[in-house]
């Protein structure tokens, strides 16, 4: 079955990321497919390239990157993202900011990518803040 997942919570502010990631890994174990993981509201902060994980605690960014390495698309709402400081190099240049902040391999996308992923998928599941 094909799933689209949405992450609404910021790192450390909720279990949104942990729930979404563990669920995604279980999906892949059972040979389901993930159409897209969409980061919305404060969930866009998951895509920041700059956090330093406290020693001995989980490194969320590294875990997202590991999930992506299994072929999962990590898509960040561009409207929610840029106003919260999540900037790709392209957006950095457009708004003339000094540094970009979007981690590889996240991409900034429009809300249309949420709706089309919902349309493509058999299931849509939200992990709220």
């Amino acid at each position: 079955m094909k799933y689209t997942l949405a992450i609404h919570g910021a790192p450390y502010a909720s279990q949104s990321a942990q729930h979404g990631m563990a669920f995604a890994e279980a999906l892949l174990r059972q040979a389901h497919t993930i159409e897209r993981i969409f980061f919305f509201h404060e969930g866009v902060l998951q895509a920041l390239s700059t956090p330093v994980a406290p020693q001995g605690e989980e490194d969320l960014l590294q875990k997202w990157q590991a999930l992506s390495a299994q072929g999962v698309e990590l898509a960040v709402c561009i409207a929610s993202g840029i106003k919260r400081g999540v900037l790709s190099e392209e957006e950095r240049a457009r708004y003339e900011k000094t540094s970009n902040s979007l981690a590889e391999p996240f991409t900034l996308v429009g809300l249309g990518q949420l709706i089309s992923a919902i349309n493509e998928a058999d299931r849509y599941i939200e992990f709220p803040a």
Binding site: M1, Y3, S14, Q15, H19, A22, F23, E25, A26, L27, R29, Q30, H32, D122, R123, Y124, I125, E126, F127, P128, A129
Partner: protein, 85 residues
Amino acid sequence: MSLHLVFNSAGYAACRQRKLSDDPIILLGDGVYCANRLDEDNIHVLEIDARVRGVSLEQCKASTINYDTFVALTALHSPIVSWAE
């Protein structure tokens, strides 16, 4: 049939008013604190979230599940509604 994901007690209050009585519920995150207060059938508790919080499920009527069962339940139901207030 819908599946309801309940993330906290206020979410449970909003959910129970708006679900069919047969619809299953999964308690996860802070929703697991509701586990021992509920008398309904068809309630599942994400075991790892209860263990993390020190919530004992020994006296609990609900079934305990892991992520694999969580996935299996989502494959059987639609829509999947998240409740967090």
